[in-house]
């Protein structure tokens, strides 16, 4: 019974995450529209888009094309089930950071597999760029979180949230790290200047080049879910999560809309500029941050 309850909570969390993120991306579209001095779509536009796509007849390039997508969505749903939100966690004790990162990576791999099997070189180039970018932002981000884990001595997200309630948000522990993590998050969300892997003008939306109809719909659902995972991971790790749901939602919306708005007034880097940027600024900041932490607190250990 307990197990069923946990699974139910997990599924509820995934559904909540999808609803939340899809709504917030709709709202964000309106916010960006205001930056661009226009009105923008209705807030539930993304739901309409997804529903339309699921009702459209599309093409497939073979079973791996579909299978990869299913893996992508399954990875996203599976990961979202573990995500603690405002004190609610489906599988207590198992909401492990490494697990979440790797399970989310399975979704990424599924997407890559699917678009690679479409046989379009633009898709392959897009995936290549995405992975190249991935190696740029993940390394500083994970390094920071490892420092955080070693500071809190637990890798369970919900426990880190609990500990922050006692000792203050992680932003205060590692202010520079927060900046780095935000830059990395910006890259993970694929906001400009780090949307090189999509780059419609260069590679015609890259990995998405062959998707239409339900495939694109599933991909959009998976994308919303993975954004939910990324942003709530960030909020949980660095901004103390949230004791109540409104608090969490506030932080969540703030971070996501901030990142999107920044993206709206920036151009796109070239892919090698992205890599160079990530190996210069964030890595340097991370190292400084870890040294600072070691000096200030008398060693991380």
């Amino acid at each position: 019974m307990n197990a069923l309850q946990s699974i139910g909570t997990g599924l509820g969390m995934a559904l909540f995450g999808w609803l939340l993120q899809t709504t917030i991306s709709g709202v964000t579209r309106k916010v960006i529209a205001r930056i661009q001095k226009r009105r923008g779509p209705v807030w539930y536009q993304n739901f309409r888009d997804i529903m339309k796509l699921l009702n459209k007849r599309s093409v497939t390039h073979g079973w791996a094309f579909d299978f990869g997508l299913l893996v992508a969505l399954a990875g996203a749903i599976g990961t979202a089930m573990f995500m603690p939100v405002a004190g609610i966690v489906a599988f207590k004790g198992f909401d492990n950071f490494f697990m979440i990162i790797y399970l989310a990576a399975l979704g990424v791999f599924g997407r890559a597999l699917s678009s690679g099997s479409s046989g379009n070189p633009l898709a392959t180039i897009g995936v290549m760029r995405g992975l190249t970018q991935n190696i740029g932002y993940k390394v500083p981000y994970m390094l920071l979180v490892i420092a955080l884990i070693s500071y809190y001595r637990t890798s369970s997200i919900s426990e880190i949230v609990e500990l922050q309630r006692v000792s203050g948000w992680s932003v205060l522990v590692m202010p520079l790290g927060f900046v780095v993590a935000f830059i990395s998050l910006h890259g993970m969300l694929g906001k400009k200047p780090f949307d090189t892997y999509l780059a419609p003008a260069e590679i015609a939306s890259g990995p998405l080049v062959e998707y239409g109809g339900k495939q694109l719909g599933i991909l959009m659902i998976a994308h919303e879910l993975s954004v939910f995972i990324e942003v709530s991971l960030f909020v949980n790790l660095f901004l103390g999560g949230g004791a109540t749901l409104p608090e969490f939602l506030l932080k969540y919306a703030f971070i996501y809309i901030l990142s999107s708005s920044l993206g709206a007034v920036m151009g796109r880097f070239r892919i090698e500029q992205v890599v160079r940027f990530y190996y210069k600024v964030p890595i340097a900041l991370t190292i400084v941050q870890i040294l600072m932490l070691a000096v200030m607190r008398g060693g991380v250990r």
Binding site: I35, Q36, K37, R38, P121, L122, I125, K192, P193, D195, T196, A199, P200, A201, E202, I203, A204, S205, A264, V265, M266, G267, R268, F269, R270, I271, E272, Q273
Partner: protein
């Protein structure tokens, strides 16, 4: 096989206009490139031979959709040269106003179009909004938003409407107030600078090799090689304006020069309104019914400075009611063909659309 063939256009978000660049890419480096034109080929030069001199007026603006008035201007100017008529002074100034407004339109279009390869879509949103305002002004003047058919052989089609002068000047005052905002958004943006600066170079020898004109030429040569200055037409020799020049032609220079040209164009518009005399706005270039005009035998090459460079028509008249031959020199013909073939190889795949954009290639005028 080490090279991949990629298609940049015709149906591609980075391609403005209906053309295709076929790229051979190795890794992310462009190895070979060819422009494949003709998707917009309508056979203008043939159609023009089938229309009367004035009948062509409806056809010619459609040669280049981004900047239609230059077509009317070269056509009118060429016909006036062949017919050897002088047009009223006022018409010259009105023409200058129209031409400069079109130039502003075209420059704003291409600055907005920078959004696509660099991803700064907000720039496009803002630019297009202001373009719409200018097109509204055109609508007030000429009755049409894009294809105005306003500059006709012998002057301009009709007198300016009442109060348009203040409306135009007010708009441009307001627009000038907004321009620093655009500058901050586009040219002071570090990400845009990272993309544009020291990238996609156009050295001077390439300018001469290809025959590039316009901003591309001036940004590399460093001399005011502008048709308006070198062989002044209309009354450009009477107004006071600067032509921005540079000797280091990267994508950033070429783009920022458009910004300064917009400023100069506004200056010209102000002066033109100041200096504009009263009087007639058109004369007949031949006697009789306008649709049965005949021109004396002769041929001439008439050129104006478009937003992308020297735009010209070679007009041949055999003394009949229809042109014998009109050949169009699209301003971006050199960089569009030979430039793509010779100098697009070597840029990164990421920069290929940027190359195409900042070289100022306009497909319709190439295709005709």
């Amino acid at each position: 096989m080490s090279e991949v063939k990629l298609f940049f256009g015709p149906q591609h978000p980075g391609m403005h206009g209906n053309a295709s660049v076929h790229l051979y890419v190795e890794g992310d480096l462009v190895k070979k490139a060819r422009l494949v034109p003709g998707m917009l080929h309508r056979g203008f030069e043939k159609s023009m031979e089938n229309h009367t001199w004035m009948g062509n007026l409806a056809l010619i603006p459609r040669v280049c959709v981004a900047e239609p008035d230059i077509n009317e201007m070269v056509f009118a100017q060429g016909l006036e040269t062949i017919a050897e008529v002088e047009i009223p002074e006022r018409a010259h100034y009105i023409r200058m106003v129209i031409m400069e407004m079109t130039r502003i339109l075209a420059h704003m279009m291409s600055l907005g179009a920078l959004a696509s390869p660099t991803g700064l879509y907000t720039a496009n949103q803002w630019m297009q909004a202001d373009r719409n305002n200018i097109q509204d002004l055109f609508e007030a003047i000429t009755g049409h938003r894009i294809y105005h058919m306003y500059i006709v052989p012998g002057g301009v089609r009709k007198e300016l409407p009442q109060g348009i002068e203040t409306r135009i000047l007010d708009f441009f005052t307001e627009f000038e107030r907004r321009m620093p905002e655009y500058h901050a958004l586009i040219f002071e943006n570090p990400t845009i600078q990272a993309r544009l600066k020291d990238n996609i170079m156009l050295p001077e020898f390439v300018v001469w090799e290809l025959g590039v004109t316009g901003i591309g030429m001036r940004s590399a040569v460093g001399k005011p090689y502008d048709v308006r200055k070198v062989t002044p037409y209309a009354r450009y020799d009477k107004v006071d304006f600067e032509v921005p020049v540079a000797t280091y032609s990267d994508a950033y220079t070429r783009s920022v020069m458009k910004y300064y040209e917009i400023k100069e164009s506004i200056r010209i518009i102000r002066q033109a309104f100041d200096m504009m005399p009263q009087g007639k706005v058109n004369v007949k270039i031949a006697p009789g019914n306008a649709l049965k005009w005949t021109l004396p035998k002769g041929q001439t090459y008439s050129a104006v400075e478009s937003a992308r460079g020297e735009f010209g028509y070679y007009i041949v008249s055999d003394g009949k009611t229809q042109p014998y031959r009109i050949a169009v020199r699209g301003a971006s013909f050199p960089q569009g063909f030979l430039g793509v073939e010779r100098y697009m190889p070597g840029v990164r795949l990421d920069d290929a659309p940027l190359w195409y954009d900042t070289m100022g290639i306009c497909t319709p005028e190439i295709d005709r």
